[in-house]
């Protein structure tokens, strides 16, 4: 069980989706259907979501509401997906994006 997932909370009850398998950089991970991709990655211990375009600095979850661009990733071949908003689906293929993202690949 992920050390990041809250099991018990005094105020909240989380209605999580069913368990689904997805792939991050080719590795199979488990998350909850419908939760943001970035939250699923975080729960799986993945904090580095991309590298900055110029200086290749690691970037992670920052604003959580689609304002900043720290969580842009490549999802099922699409570049620049805001993973803090993108709902997780079974079998998703998630990759760290290099540079500004390639629209054609």
């Amino acid at each position: 069980m992920s050390e990041y997932r809250i099991q018990q909370h005094p105020i909240l009850q989380f209605s999580l989706g069913r368990r689904v398998k997805f792939y991050f950089e080719g590795e199979a991970l488990e998350g909850r259907e419908g939760e943001p991709v970035a939250a699923a990655l975080h729960a799986a211990g993945v904090k580095v979501l991309k590298y900055s375009a110029e200086r290749e600095r690691p970037r992670g979850f920052f604003c959580a509401i689609g304002n900043c661009s720290a969580c842009l990733m490549r999802v099922d071949g699409r570049a620049n997906v805001r993973t803090c908003l993108e709902p997780l689906r079974e079998g998703m293929w998630i990759e760290r994006q290099q540079g500004k993202g390639d629209l054609d690949a």
Binding site: Q8, H9, P10, I11
Partner: protein, 173 residues
């Protein structure tokens, strides 16, 4: 100092402390709301009208300790978790302290708990006398803890059980 550290000083506590005679008569509320903020639910929570109606919502709450029955309803209702009920008649050496608690798991009556002072220092152990967590309290439990008489002005929290469990690396006993 409260505004630098979050810890109330003796002048602040002075204002919350009911008088000696009242304290010897049984449970009574100590309202430790020391800075004016726009907030008034404590008045509505009191069934006996001991907490005055606010003429200005920013006023500090004003309680009539004589009218207060020490029931603890205001403890659960205060959004600032700043009200405590203390019963110094529990026994010669022990007092009963009712405090708001919003952590899980909740302790059970009879459990030994770690007492925490206003500044977050551990101050020994107390024993849970009663846990009130009805629906009406909306997830703020009121825990009645038996504490040493000489700590009634210091202790204001119990250590959340999940922290105790983490530190001991074990299960709740």
């Amino acid at each position: 100092m409260l505004k630098r550290t979050g810890i109330a000083c003796s002048e602040d506590i002075e204002r919350a402390r009911p008088d000696e005679t009242r304290r010897k008569q049984g449970p009574v509320a100590w309202i430790e709301c020391f800075r004016e903020i726009p907030c008034d639910p404590c008045h509505d929570a009191c069934r006996v009208g001991a907490i005055e109606e606010f003429s200005d919502i920013n006023d500090l709450p004003c309680i009539d300790h004589e009218a207060c029955t020490g029931c603890g309803l205001c403890v659960a209702a205060c959004p600032g978790l700043a009200i405590f009920v203390i019963d110094e008649t529990h026994s010669e050496t022990q007092a009963l302290l009712a405090l708001p608690h919003e952590f899980t798991p909740l302790p059970d009556a009879g459990d030994e708990v770690v007492l925490m002072t206003r500044s977050g220092q551990e101050a020994g152990y107390g024993r849970v006398h009663r846990v009130q967590a009805p629906r009406a309290f909306d997830r703020t439990a009121v825990i009645w803890v038996i504490i040493p008489q000489d700590l009634v002005e210091q202790v204001r929290a119990i250590k959340p059980l999940h922290q105790v469990i983490d530190e001991e690396g074990g299960e709740k006993q």
